[in-house]
């Protein structure tokens, strides 16, 4: 189980680092939202793997909270996505479309 934990820790660390790269670089707010969703899913996976290795059930409630929190965050950001300034920057970057 230590081997499994090490492999999963490395993989999920790579996942988190790549998501942070996209959160920093992402040209629009929705790219950052998508990357944040994957980051939350990777965090939930990391907590689950830690619970599986330690064989305890004390962090399962945190998984419930994370499953609902990512939903609320992305839905509220998508609800209030503003088209104004970011769209002009996007058009300048991508050319006239």
């Amino acid at each position: 189980m230590i081997v499994v934990g090490t492999i999963c820790a490395v993989l999920l660390s790579i996942t988190g680092a790549l998501c942070v790269v996209r959160i920093v670089r992402g040209p629009t707010m929705l790219d950052r939202t998508v990357a944040t969703d994957v980051f939350v899913a990777a965090s939930a996976g990391a907590i689950g793997i830690e619970a599986a290795i330690g064989r305890h059930n004390s962090t399962l409630s945190i998984l419930v909270v994370l499953a609902l929190l990512g939903f609320l965050g992305s839905v509220s950001i998508a609800k209030f996505a503003a088209p104004d300034t970011d769209r002009r920057a996007h058009d300048d970057e991508e050319g006239e479309s």
Partner: protein, 122 residues
């Protein structure tokens, strides 16, 4: 033996999350990044929860794990739909990459006869 299966499930879930993160960094626009991003939210997390259930082997814990899986399966498509719709309406999605686009420039159903599919009659 059960622990081996649980470890294999958890490693495959973490691997799926890593592949999705690579896709998020390398894909060109919001919609294709969402294609990569919605996989670890459902399948990756379900694999990890299955591994955790095989490891805990307790009925009340497995009930909570099923509840987490149910929440995730209910909320991930809804949030992906909201983000995709917002991306399309605010113009962040690249329309020239789309094969079929049933909306005009204003985000409404394209009802003109220009070869594009018509709006559904309701």
């Amino acid at each position: 033996m059960i622990d081996v299966i649980a470890g294999a499930l958890m490693i495959s879930g973490a691997l799926l999350a890593t592949i999705a993160a690579i896709g998020i960094v390398r894909f060109p626009d919001v919609l294709s990044r969402m294609h990569a991003a919605t996989k670890p939210q459902t399948v990756g997390l379900l694999l990890i929860l299955a591994g955790l259930a095989l490891r805990l082997r307790d009925l009340s814990d497995i009930t909570i794990l099923g509840l987490i899986a149910l929440f995730q399966l209910m909320t991930a498509p809804v949030s992906a739909h909201m983000v995709g719709r917002a991306a399309f309406r605010t113009g962040f999605a690249r329309r020239d990459d789309l094969t079929v686009c049933e909306f005009d420039a204003d985000g409404r159903w394209d009802t003109e006869d220009d070869g594009a599919p018509d709006a559904p009659t309701r």
